[in-house]
C-alpha cells in the first residue's frame, strides 16, 4: 500500500505555468538546455576519441607511407596491411609477450599492493611516513625508472648482481641480456612501478570498510584470514575491479618502459604490441601496418572494457 504513495504525481503541470508560451516550446527549450549541457562532452569525445579512432581504423586499410604526408594520397589496399602483419612471425610473438607481460604485471602489482594496503590499514607509529615513501616509484617518470633499472640490472656492473654476488648467490644472472630472462626482468620492474598505485587505491577502499564489521566478525570468532576473505574481499570488490581495469589499460599498451630497458631486445624477446606498433610506424614509417597493430591493441582493450561494464551492471542490480 505504501508503494502507491511513493509513485508521485507527474511534476507540476501547475496552473500558473499556463501563461508561459505553449508547452511544446517549453519542452523544446528544456531539450535544448539539456543538449547544451551534453554538447561539450560530445564534441570533446568526437574530436579527441572518435576522430582518431576512426582515422586509425581507416589508416589500417591504406597504403600510408611518408609520401602520403606530401601528396595527401593514401590508396586503399584492402586487407593487405592486416594480412602482412598477421603473417609476420613477430606479431604472434609480440601478442604473446603482451599477454604474459600484462598478466604477470597485474598479478604481481595487485598481490603485493593488496598485502601492503592491508598492512598499512592498521595504525602504527611511522605508518603514514612509510606509506608515503612507498609512493616514490610512482612519482619517478617511467623513462627515468627504466634507465635506472637498466643500470641496476647490468650483468657485470649492476648493483643487483653485485649484491647477489656478495651474498654468495651467484651474481651472474643475465637479467636483461638473455632472451629467456629479459621478459621476466621487465615484468619485475613493472611490478615495482605499479605497486604504489595498487596500494593507494586499495588502501582507500579499505578505509571505507566500517570497523564494526570486523568487530562483529571477531565476536563471531572469525580468524584474521577468515575476516579478510569474508569481509575485506567482498566489500573491496568494486575497488578491486577499478584497480585491475585501470592497471590493465595502462599495462597492455606498455612502450616507454620497454624502450628504456631493452629496446624490445635481446632478439625480440621483449617485443610487445606497443613496441611493434612504434617500430612499424616510427622506424619503418609503414603507418598502415602500425595502425593494424594499434587497432588490435584497441580491440583487446575494448573487449576488456565490455566485460568491465557488464560486471558493473550486474553489480548494480
Amino acid at each position: 500500500m505504501t508503494t502507491s504513495t511513493v509513485t508521485a504525481p507527474p511534476p507540476a503541470d501547475a496552473p500558473g505555468k499556463a501563461a508561459a508560451p505553449g508547452p511544446a516550446r517549453a519542452r523544446l527549450r528544456r531539450g535544448l538546455v539539456r543538449w547544451g549541457f551534453v554538447a561539450p562532452a560530445v564534441v570533446f569525445m568526437l574530436l579527441f576519441f572518435g576522430y582518431p579512432l576512426v582515422r586509425n581504423v581507416v589508416m589500417s586499410f591504406q597504403h600510408y607511407t611518408p609520401k602520403t604526408f606530401f601528396t595527401g594520397e593514401a590508396p586503399f589496399n584492402g586487407a593487405d596491411n592486416w594480412s602482412s602483419v598477421f603473417q609476420d612471425a613477430l606479431f604472434g610473438k609480440a601478442l604473446w609477450h603482451t599477454l604474459v607481460f600484462t598478466a604477470g604485471s597485474l598479478l604481481g602489482q595487485f598481490c603485493i599492493g593488496l598485502a601492503l594496503a592491508v598492512f598499512f590499514n592498521r595504525r602504527f607509529p611511522l605508518g603514514g611516513v612509510l606509506r608515503s615513501l612507498i609512493l616514490l616509484p610512482w612519482l619517478v617518470p617511467m623513462v627515468v625508472s627504466g634507465i635506472v633499472w637498466r643500470r641496476i640490472l647490468d650483468q657485470d656492473t649492476g648493483v643487483l648482481n653485485t649484491f647477489l654476488d656478495t651474498l654468495g648467490l651467484g651474481g651472474h644472472t643475465p637479467w636483461l641480456t638473455s632472451p629467456d630472462m629479459a621478459l621476466l626482468s621487465v615484468i619485475l620492474v613493472n611490478v615495482w612501478i605499479g605497486i604504489p598505485f595498487n596500494m593507494v587505491i586499495l588502501y582507500g577502499g579499505l578505509q571505507e570498510i566500517p570497523k564494526e564489521l570486523y568487530e562483529a566478525a571477531s565476536l563471531d570468532g572469525a580468524s584474521a584470514w577468515r575476516a579478510f576473505r569474508s569481509v575485506t574481499l567482498p566489500l573491496l570488490k568494486p575497488v578491486i575491479t577499478v584497480v585491475l581495469v585501470l592497471g590493465f589499460m595502462s599495462t597492455v599498451k606498455i612502450l616507454d618502459l620497454i624502450l628504456a630497458l631493452t629496446d624490445g631486445g635481446p632478439a625480440d624477446a621483449t617485443q610487445t604490441l606497443g613496441t611493434l606498433t612504434y617500430q612499424n610506424s616510427f622506424v619503418e614509417l609503414d603507418f598502415g601496418a602500425g595502425a593494424v597493430v594499434g587497432n588490435v591493441l584497441i580491440l583487446i582493450s575494448a573487449v576488456f572494457a565490455v566485460f568491465y561494464l557488464r560486471a558493473n551492471r550486474t553489480e548494480g542490480k
Binding site: 607511407t65 611518408p66 609520401k67 602520403t68 604526408f69 606530401f70 601528396t71 595527401g72 602482412s84 602483419v85 603473417q87 609476420d88 613477430l90 637498466r150 647490468d154 650483468q155 657485470d156 656492473t157 643475465p174 636483461l176 641480456t177 638473455s178 632472451p179 631493452t262 629496446d263 624490445g264 631486445g265 635481446p266 632478439a267 625480440d268 617500430q279 616510427f282 622506424v283 619503418e284 614509417l285 601496418a289
Partner: protein
C-alpha cells in the same frame, strides 16, 4: 625569419649551431633560428610539418634518414640552388645523395674507430691490433678480472647495426644479402669474441654511450666508438686513450666503416625566393670556415677536402679517424629508403646469434624478414 630544424638538443651543440647561424645570418642579412628536437623525432616531426604545410626552411636529417624524405618527394636538389660539390670527396657527395641527386650537404662526417687505453695496452705489452686475429688475441690478453678486452654495442637499435657494419663490410658482406657467407663470418667473429669472454654479455643491451661509459670506467681496454665521444673522453684527464682503424679480416684489406653524421637539406616549401635563401644559408653553414669551426668543436671530420686537411693538421691525434672516413661508405647508398627494414631485421639477427642461435640461421631469417617487406 628563417628556421632550421635540427637535433642539436645538447647544450654545446645547440650553442655552436646558434653561433654559426648567427654568423651566417649576419653575412646574408637575415635572421636564422634553430628549432631542435631529439634525433629520433626529426623525421616524424618533419613529416607532420609537411602535411600541415609548415615545413621549416632547412632540415638537418641524419644521413641514413634523408633517403626516406627524398623518396617521398620532399627535398630540393641542392645543385639547382647553386651549391657546389667541387671540394667534397665523392664518398661524401654520395652520402648526401639519393638516386644520384644531391639533396643533403654535410658539414662534417663521422665514423667508427677502435679506441684503446694506451696505459693498459702498454702495461700488458699488447700492440694495437690491425687484423681480426690480432684483435681477438689482444682482447683475450687484455681481459683481466672485471676488465673486458673489448667493448662494443650490439643493442637492439640503430647503434648496434652501425657497429656491426664495419665487420660485415670489411669482410666483403653486403646488406642486400644478409645470409651470405661473408656476413655469417662477420657475425661468427662477434660470437667468438663473446665466447672468449673478451666481450661482456651485456653487449646486447648497450648503446654506444654505454660502451663509452664502460671504457671510461676502466671496464674495457678497447672499444669501438665514434668521435662524438671524444669530448666526454677528454673530461677525464687521467685517461690516456689512442685511436686506430677498425681491424680487418686479413692484413692489407680495406677497413670499410660506416659514414655517419647529418646533412642539411632544403625541403620543398613552395616559395622560390625562400628556397634560394635557404640554399644560401646551407652554403654558408657548409663553407670551409664554418666546417672547420664545427669540426674542431665537435671532433668530427669536415666534409670539405680543404677544411679536412686543415683539421688534420690541427688535430693530429685523430688521424686514424680521417683515414677511416676516406674509405667509409654510407648505409643507404645501396638500399636507400629500404634501409630501416633491413636494419631492424639485422638487429634481431645479431642479437639472436649473440644469445645462442647459430649465425647462419639467424641471418637466414633476417634476410627473409627483410625481403618479405615485414
Amino acid at each position: 625569419m628563417y628556421t632550421v630544424l635540427n637535433s642539436s638538443t645538447d647544450e654545446t651543440y645547440h650553442r655552436w649551431d646558434a653561433e654559426a647561424m648567427a654568423r651566417c645570418g649576419k653575412r646574408l642579412g637575415v635572421t636564422v633560428e634553430q628549432q631542435s628536437v631529439p634525433a629520433s623525432q626529426v623525421m616524424t616531426k618533419a613529416l607532420r610539418m609537411a602535411s600541415s604545410k609548415s615545413l621549416p626552411d632547412v632540415v638537418q636529417f641524419d644521413a641514413s634518414e634523408m633517403p626516406v624524405f627524398a623518396e617521398a618527394g620532399g627535398l630540393v636538389d641542392l645543385r639547382t640552388l647553386g651549391l657546389s660539390t667541387d671540394h667534397v670527396p665523392d664518398g661524401i657527395v654520395d652520402f648526401g645523395s639519393y638516386r644520384g641527386t644531391y639533396y643533403g650537404a654535410a658539414r662534417s662526417v663521422n665514423t667508427l674507430a677502435l679506441f684503446y687505453n694506451k696505459d693498459v695496452l702498454a702495461e700488458a705489452g699488447v700492440r694495437t691490433p690491425a687484423t681480426w686475429d690480432e684483435l681477438r688475441r689482444a682482447a683475450r690478453e687484455l681481459t683481466r678480472g672485471k676488465r673486458y678486452g673489448l667493448a662494443l654495442s650490439a643493442g637492439g637499435a640503430e647503434d648496434g647495426v652501425f657497429q656491426f657494419t664495419p665487420f660485415m663490410w670489411s669482410n666483403g658482406g653486403d646488406e642486400r644479402e644478409l645470409d651470405s657467407p661473408q656476413v655469417v663470418e662477420a657475425l661468427d667473429f662477434w660470437k667468438a669474441l663473446l665466447k672468449d669472454g673478451s666481450l661482456s654479455r651485456s653487449t646486447v643491451n648497450w648503446t654506444q654511450a654505454d660502451v663509452n661509459d664502460q671504457f671510461m670506467a676502466g671496464n674495457a681496454a678497447m672499444m669501438i666508438n665514434g668521435p662524438w665521444q671524444v669530448e666526454t673522453l677528454n673530461s677525464d684527464p687521467s685517461l690516456n686513450w689512442g685511436i686506430a682503424e677498425i681491424p680487418v679480416p686479413e692484413a692489407g684489406a680495406d677497413s670499410v666503416a660506416p659514414l655517419g653524421g647529418a646533412v642539411l637539406t632544403v625541403p620543398r616549401t613552395g616559395d622560390d625566393g625562400r628556397r634560394r635563401m635557404a640554399g644560401r644559408i646551407v652554403a654558408c653553414l657548409t663553407s670551409e670556415e664554418e666546417q672547420l669551426t664545427y669540426a674542431l668543436n665537435s671532433w668530427m671530420v669536415p666534409a670539405d677536402e680543404r677544411a679536412a686537411a686543415e683539421w688534420r693538421a690541427q688535430v693530429p691525434e685523430l688521424d686514424a679517424l680521417a683515414d677511416q672516413v676516406a674509405t667509409a661508405r654510407s648505409r643507404t647508398d645501396r638500399l636507400g629508403a629500404g634501409w630501416p627494414a633491413v636494419s631492424l631485421a639485422l638487429q634481431s639477427a645479431f642479437q639472436s646469434a649473440l644469445t645462442g642461435q647459430s649465425s647462419e640461421a639467424a641471418l637466414k631469417r633476417a634476410q627473409q624478414r627483410a625481403t618479405s617487406g615485414n
